[in-house]
Amino acid sequence: MDWVTFLILFPLIPAVILLFTKSVQLQRVVVLVSSALIILGSVGLACNYMQAGGTYLPISSGFFNGLVILGDIVLALVFLYVCRKLPIKKYWIPLMVVIQYGMVVTADLTGGIPETNRYLYIDNLSIVMALIIGVVGSLIAVYTVGYMQHYHEQHKEIKDRRCTFIAAIYLFFFAMYGIIFSNSITWIYFFWEITTLCSFIMIGYSRKEEAVHNSFRALWMLLLGGLAFSVGIMYAANYCGTIELQKLVTMKQSLVIFPILLLCFAGMNKAAQFPFGGWLLGAMVAPTPSSALLHSSTMVKAGVYLVLRCSPILQGTASGAIVAFIGGTSFVMCSALAISQSKGKPILAYSTIANLGLIVLCAGIGTSFTLWAALLLIIFHAVAKALMFISVGTVDHQTGSQDVEDMHGLVSRMPILTFTMLIGLGGMFLAPFGMLISKWAVIEALAVRNPVYPPIVIFGGSLMLFFWTKWMGTLISVVGKQPPIKAKGIGFDEWLGLGGLSILTIAACVGFPWIGHYWIQPLYGWNPMLSERIEVSVALMLGLMLLPPLIFACRWKRLVHTEPYLSGLNVENKYEYLGSLGAPRRWSFGNYYINKYFSEAKLFKGTIIGTTLLWILMFFMENL
């Protein structure tokens, strides 16, 4: 109880303080202290509850429940307030707010919601999520202070509202901890909508036209999820007689499948699965820390978290198969779409949707093996992707571009930053590191089943390999001595975030057999790492990954330096060759984007239509 209450309620304190703190120094201190406390809290929680298995934390007084109802009402008013400037033809956005909150609040006030005293529940899944939010999130929060400073130095035209921004981060922590520890779906719903609000605030931060437009798109898409959520609550309350998530997932499949599907809908909507992928892509206009925190490592993870919670019901049902299929479609399509992108953040956004799709695929199938893989994916993806986002953000600030083409030869200009990026990229797709191990687990888990799924994972994985390697290669091209970038300098807190996340990424890779053993095995009673000879080969590969740095450290003797081959037409400058008219001409090289097949224009619409049909089919099938 103590740790949980602390983690949920504590972030509100820095949130309030930061809202009124204008001085950067003060912000920095507050953020550092509260981040340290949150990390400590999360670790303490993990140590305390890790062996306990699933535990309910009873709350007897209705006081907190009253607070949640009050919070719902306040939140509804806030939503209506932010919608005030919308044109009248977008009446349906506030209408959605009114409908969903109207339903939930009336039901709650009139006693339509069954009573319970088991509001909080904690098991290893919540602990893993808590650690991700606590540790990864805090590091991003630390990074944010320095980032926002640069951001406003660079974008003078944007009004400085960074207090709101940083405060929103802590409000978001509060909401996230609420989501993962709550057992009552009304509570989850309350926190759920707070994250929607945070996302809305952050996307619209710059108040440029595009940002505002995108923020409202995110708002309505996410509210649609909220609507489904509230319908799910009403159904569960009226027909299943309980609003406890843990109870729901142990009830008879046929009885609860409908509310569970609605919750899955909400979860996948939050996880930006197609057809709702659009909001996450639009969310990339927000300052990078919010992309790192909300839109890749934590908030969208809350979506897959909910689907994972529902997976016992989904397992083996036709609807579950369709959930898995929608996830798989998002995985393949977004991996393909990412190939056609050249900007850093859209690539990361697409690959985020793709990886979340893979997790949803695992959850939809719901065997213990796939759940094991899903949880590992959540962990690895959270750390590596957060690292990638903030690295791209830093590069953007230092060089003024987040285009992958402009990062050509970054290793020669910013070696240390490139190194952190390489760690992130390696964590995203190279073999002994996390993602590929998880992918291996997924393929192995799926091979026994319907042969529809393995090809999805295999093709998606190959597409991912293409764009990650392309990016990695572009970074490591050695372009020789470069004029140093006009040093704006990377601040201390930015390095803290970058360094911390790099270490975390490596630690997650090295430690994942233990993660699997201590956290996931108790949860799902399964740990494929201990079967066969896997651990030996994985350990071998991990050990070998130490080799490249060693090899690079060696300075081979007797190297003879020369110029690259340019058909014998080299001139003084390495980037030029002698043109046919006797004058030097520049050569340049751009990556392949395969726009002919993988462009947004070709794939986006089809995917949206296809997945929408799948969703309709799913609910329809449920009714049959």
Binding site: Y565, G568, N570, L578
Partner: protein, 143 residues
């Protein structure tokens, strides 16, 4: 013999030849003469090659190219000038843009004169070059 003599890889560069010698060089690769018997392979890249085979003379346009390609070949390497044009400039030597034979620009190890040089001559020249290649290799590592 060392391994250099067993696997000389050629780089064929066409200077300002009349293409007569080039056709003979290509003839060497064809079934009739089949130089791959001796492990000779025609590469397109100076970095992979051991033997630099030049046909035709040097003119003001290609002088830098020849130098550059020569410099991009790893030691040990030999240069074989194929055809009279490459050895001396031949009847183009009076032209306004011709500098002369290959040895005006880079050190030539073997000369294979003839207009056009016969395939047998070319093969023979390369084989002569192999001995030089081995010697150069020995000089490279005096151990």
């Amino acid at each position: 013999m060392g391994y250099f003599a067993k696997s000389p890889w050629l780089l064929h560069y066409d200077g300002s030849s009349c293409n007569g010698c080039d056709i003979e060089v290509l003839a060497c690769l064809m079934p009739k003469y089949d130089v791959e018997r001796f492990g000779i392979i025609n590469t397109g890249n100076p970095k992979h090659a051991d033997v630099f085979l030049i046909t035709g003379g040097i003119n003001t346009q290609n002088i830098d190219v020849v130098k550059n390609i020569y410099n991009q070949m790893g030691e040990p390497k030999v240069v074989v000038a194929v055809g009279t044009c490459a050895t001396s400039g031949h009847f183009f030597s009076e032209c306004y843009n011709i500098i002369g034979g290959v040895d005006k620009v880079i050190p030539v190890d073997v000369y294979a004169p003839g207009c056009a040089a016969k395939p047998e001559m070319i093969i023979d020249a390369v084989v002569k070059g192999l001995g030089i290649l081995e010697e150069k290799k020995k000089k490279m590592s005096p151990k």
